[in-house]
Symmetry: C2
Subunit: 437 residues, 2 copies
């Protein structure tokens, strides 16, 4: 509730009379609220009818929640073509099944696969995603064309691999071409893959790139017990301690997974203000384990949520992560109050903006970027309309998202995408699948 | 693939050209299959066009999976009015918050709340549910009116409670009035609530009812550590051993939960052929714990899936249980091959028919009751169309169910319910909610 203008506000879009869940100052749902958008920013948030708004477009939000778009902090868009391939396998076997198939991917394929992934994300309420893969120029083009917001990194594997220098060059080129691109909707990070795929020398080469450009870093950290064991065997340290020793954690870092972290690791993550991405579906599906997310949260570590790639999930609906995160931690911690609904909603929105170091998104507040979703709460599974916030977490889902606005643009309205041709995307991806798998 | 008739079959419904997942002889998806229904039975299952079928109604199943309806083996329909009430609380606190509210429920309310629950279940692909609650005559009427199939029990609490004898009488009346009712769609069981709510004397009175009538039993067993601890303090035995000693397990039993069972308990459950109902969402949400479902499955115990009530879930979509079951057990057992997709699909269909001792449902086979669902697999999240079976488990959901047939009657077509007025149901339940909470 702010900025109650007494004069008329000129706006492009007025969202009228919804249940506001701004995620600003806690997860509280307030009935009868309006939100006005001008350009790509939120111009006004307030009780219905109180502000005088003259808008070219009015969206009725009766029986709809108005909330910030979800932020998917870790995924691999290009891998969606492997959805359903290599199921029920542990991480290392799964990677080794997929790697030869990945060699067959082309820029053209990754463009269309990225569009499929983005369409799926928008339809389930995601407005920003962080990706690490290859052929990232294609993914950047898909981001530009679809209107979504993204943090992109070229995955850098360099421990006896071919082309490790080429990869670093590609990450640099991605940065030069796309950082701040698509009208400011793209941010480019460096993507050293993990300690088990990068030598010490290679990590130093990545840090050199980072220091030359000011890029932030997106990396997999302590995803499996094997990774930790191997790192200890080689370096005598956990992955977190090792990356800290190399100075990597002194830069702004997005650390995906952090499933197998010790108390000392967590202290380092907090001290270095590393953003941790919790990926509950993927961690379960690959049998990586249960991340100590409640301990991390209590310690004050910044935590966002991610779906990971569709090949280890197998869906890009962030609401599934929200529900799973909240449910499993109650059983893991033997505490029904662990990760309550509001905390997980915060991880998926405000937490994501902090992890990705993008402070202009993550809440519905005047002056912030207009990344907003409307959620239909008139479905049977929302009745009785009691505690809307917990309904969103425990009973709702991505399929309840009706309208999605990103950077002030309506990219989905009443379930219909305006920037992506679903039929063409499905047709092309199916064709590529047949060609390479 | 059976019953390839050479002569023309007269049928009421022909489901044409779908992806058949019959769940007969394992979870295998076969393209281009037809299913014919005559009356309330499946008259033919075979490759598209091979059988000559003359049907009054043809349902096109292109891009649809044809599979048996899901069987929700444990829920409490009347509790859906408490969805969103008393979240993030452990079982005992949660029960004590709800009990005073339950006293305010009337028959009329429970009828409409049951219809809401049934509508939600049908929309997400459930064709049979097992319920234990009170005002069960109202739930039976809702079952009759909606066309769903159900196993109903009057919840029997009797350890110093008022009205314990009245409850047993009501269970008897329910049996006399409704067992085999609604055209054979209703079966009535006895519902002794749990060892912590029933005295030994009361359980014996229930067994007396069971022996007089031949009723089967639906009971909560070893849901929480507290229940087990308390039972051991009072009887020196685990709930399973104690119920076995009382002879209860010598009758056909549906045992909900079995979260905290020992190896010895599991041996008893197997030996006595007890049907166990696994309720992963509820067990997580109430912090009851992770049931050793993989151990039980390996031992050969019969297992079905359940949602439990919407107040501890908070949704009645069985596909959420399917996904959750498959995901969390991989992490619990540190084994990515634990509970693969096909195994969980089997629990939700064939397993359910075994648990509820209703052999005529649970698979799509000639001669079985026509409880069949069609699932739209043309959504973005099913692409590429690779392994349809795993897509159903890991990426699909209740919202993909398009058509539901129960006992030969189309109760939902293209997402539209034919037997329940959704708007009236929502309106009434909301009104009751405001009146009692």
């Amino acid at each position: 509730m702010n900025n109650m203008a007494e004069d008329t506000i000129k706006a492009d879009i007025l969202i009228k009379n919804g249940y506001l869940l701004s995620m600003n100052k806690g997860p509280k749902v307030i009935k009868h609220c309006d939100v006005a958008i001008k350009g790509n920013r939120i111009a006004m948030v307030g009780p219905t009818g109180q502000g005088q708004v003259d808008a070219s477009r009015v969206i009725d939000a009766k029986y709809k929640v108005i909330m910030p778009g979800l932020i998917n902090c870790h995924t691999h868009c290009g891998m969606t073509i492997f959805r359903g391939v290599a199921n029920d396998l542990p991480l290392m076997d799964w990677l080794q099944t997929l790697w030869p198939l990945e060699d067959k991917l082309t820029q053209e394929m990754v463009y269309w696969i990225s569009l499929l992934s983005i369409a799926e994300m928008i339809k389930s309420g995601t407005t920003t995603f962080a990706d690490m893969y290859f052929h990232m120029d294609a993914t950047a083009r898909a981001v530009e064309d679809s209107g979504i917001r993204a943090v992109l990194a070229r995955g850098l594997q360099g421990a006896g691999y071919d082309m490790q220098d080429i990869r670093i060059r590609e990450n640099r080129e991605l940065y030069d071409k796309w950082h701040g691109g698509a009208g400011g909707r793209i941010k480019v990070m460096a993507g050293p893959h993990a300690v088990y795929t990068c030598s010490e020398e290679y990590i130093k080469a990545v840090l050199d790139l980072v220091d030359k450009t000011g890029m932030e870093i997106h990396i997999h950290v302590s995803e499996t017990q094997d990774e930790v064991r191997q790192c200890k065997n080689t370096t005598g340290m956990t992955p977190v301690a090792y990356l800290n020793k190399l100075g990597l954690l002194d830069r702004p870092v997005v650390a995906a997974h952090c499933v197998h972290v010790t108390r000392e690791d967590m202290e380092i993550l907090r001290e270095k203000d590393v953003g941790v991405v919790y990926n509950p579906s993927s961690n379960c599906k690959l049998a990586s384990g249960f991340a100590p997310v409640v301990d991390m949260q209590r310690l004050g570590i910044t935590i966002g949520l991610g779906t990971d790639g569709a090949s280890s999930n197998n869906n890009l609906d962030m609401f599934r992560e929200i529900r799973l995160a909240s449910l499993i931690n109650k059983a893991v911690y033997k505490d029904a109050t662990a990760l309550p609904a509001g905390t997980v909603l915060s991880m998926a929105t405000l937490g994501g903006s902090q992890v990705l170091n993008w402070p202009d998104i993550g809440t519905v507040e005047q002056g912030k970027l207009a990344d907003i979703i409307l959620i239909d709460i008139d479905g049977l599974h929302f009745y009785p309309l009691s505690d809307i916030k917990t309904h969103l977490v425990y009973s709702g889902g991505g399929r309840d998202v009706s309208t999605v606005i990103i950077d002030g643009q309506v990219v989905m309205d009443n379930g219909v995408l305006s920037t992506i041709d679903e039929e063409e995307v499905k047709h092309r991806v199916q064709k590529y699948f047949k060609a390479i798998v």
